[in-house]
Symmetry: C2
Subunit: 313 residues, 2 copies
């Protein structure tokens, strides 16, 4: 198969430059956290939506308005598959609708589904979640299987200009139970995983004209010291960085994931942007205006921190 | 939430005893591998089905007939979510239809989806794939996040009599790239993961009257030496054992995953059963008869190998 579109890493870095900030917004819709005006106001008798399909319709409406609000300020969004899968097949339909809407608005899509398996099974996941123009531009994956688990995804990446982000160092508190397991030289599993990912990402057809690979890495912002080390171990990986905002990491924590030239990472914020209506500073605004303002503030906060990295180097 | 049904480990072991063999059949439907009589014969003008929804209808028909054929011989089936997700939302609808059909036929369902995430996101996966009577009885999960990633699934297990199987030692060739990473004492990551899983599985509400936990472990049959060691490290885990048949492991390789009393594991076979029509010995049979005969032969092969373990101990 010939490559039908440009390398994903190049596409992502171009989009970041065009929008002026290396950020993406996590589309993590939970019905009980939707803005009251949206969730209850339009329901039957002004109350909560009674059944799953009514909730899902409201979730779809919420996602569309969030996408419209953030599109001018961010290059990419990261819809979280789990929140859609919670509603079964109908939710999955809405997930793919969100992917198409994001594309219509000129946004790149990082599908957050953390799929993992081997051989024909991983091929089926890649077909369902990554292959073709109506699917996400890139997908999060879990590399516990080694290269057998990544290759089917990477084949789609090189053939179709798509990307993948492998879990390396996750942002959660118990990450170390598994990821800090260390060998005799003190190398930890997440560093070993980083070296594997760096190697896999150099495969034919993955590295773009800017020197980055379409195989990126998930590196939590909650561990800035480790991020600096991982930045060295994975020179050609774009880091997808969770942990900002609701999970406690600051913009300067996130900055540890970037190179001295200010490239090499994209920072995600979900709840702190899409549920901005709950924050005191945005309380007087219509909820979608609050989302827009929070997205803009998030993008500027990260831009400032990354600019400081570039200046100090 | 009170537990509405019996502990999953007890339910699974009871079902194994009732059917007489510790096996499950992997429901891994790929359109281009369906029996010719089913795939082409009923299509328009006798040719291949033209579009995805026609293929999916045929896949649904195939799954129903496979379930009917194997139900008298095996206690459980393991539908692989990826093959359904390859068809988008419609495929997911078919997956849940397969789960319901399996339940109607009295089969336990191990949903093979290898989901993984943390906190509210993992809760959403557990809600979508495990919670409620119309969902699978148990789900495969990937524990790279540590306990943060497993807890939301385990909460559903203890509240609703469901189960989970965490990846410990996978059956694929490159498994060792990640899973053989060893500490200073020579302990490998998969052994460390086994110890973590054994600990997590002892949490309140998970261990049933037979002494097994609702949190089991995926342990590939392709590594029998390691399986024996893992059997010691995880005394209360039921092993879900892939690798038999198409992947190259024999019944006596699989037997290494069982305790001396013949309990403690369930062996999966997918392609070698559901595509039995391609094997010379079944070539003269209608394809669903071939599936039935292959399921019966598989169940007897494993039963014999496990009985040998019991006798020799």
């Amino acid at each position: 198969m010939t490559q039908t579109t440009a390398n994903f890493a190049d596409r992502l870095l171009d989009a970041i430059e065009a929008k002026g900030s290396p950020v993406c917004v996590g589309i993590d819709p939970k019905y009980d956290q939707l803005p009251p005006a949206l969730a209850a106001g339009a329901g039957p008798r002004g109350g909560a939506d009674a059944d799953a399909s009514a909730q899902l319709a409201r979730i779809g409406e919420f996602c569309w308005q969030v996408l419209e609000a953030v599109a001018p300020h961010v290059p990419a969004v990261k819809p979280q598959s789990a929140y859609f899968e919670a509603y079964g097949a109908g939710g999955v339909e809405t997930y793919f609708q969100v992917v198409r809407w994001a594309h219509e608005l000129g946004l790149l899509v990082i599908g957050d589904a953390k799929r993992n398996d081997i051989g024909p099974t991983a091929e089926a996941y890649a077909a369902g979640h990554l292959a073709g123009p109506d699917k996400a531009d890139s997908l999060t994956v879990n590399a516990y299987f080694g290269i057998d688990g990544l290759k089917p995804f990477l084949d789609v990446c090189s053939a179709q200009g798509k990307g993948a982000f492998a879990l390396v160092r996750t942002s959660n508190r118990s990450a170390g139970q598994v990821q800090d397991f260390a060998n005799a030289e003190g190398k930890k599993l997440y560093e070993h995983m980083a070296e594997l990912v760096a190697g896999f990402g150099d495969a034919a057809g993955l590295v773009g004209r800017r020197g980055y690979s379409s195989l990126g890495a998930v590196v939590g912002a909650t561990w800035p010291q480790e991020a600096r080390r991982l930045r060295q171990l994975m020179p050609r990986q774009i880091f997808l960085v969770p942990g900002y905002g609701a999970q406690g990491a600051s913009a300067s924590d996130c900055a540890a994931c970037f190179k001295d030239d200010g490239t090499g990472a994209i920072v995600n914020a979900g709840r702190s942007v899409i549920y901005a209506h709950r924050q005191a500073e945005y309380a007087d605004l219509p909820w979608h205006k609050a989302v827009q303002r929070a997205a803009k503030a998030f993008a500027e906060d990260i831009k400032k921190a990354v600019t400081a990295v570039v200046r100090s180097s």
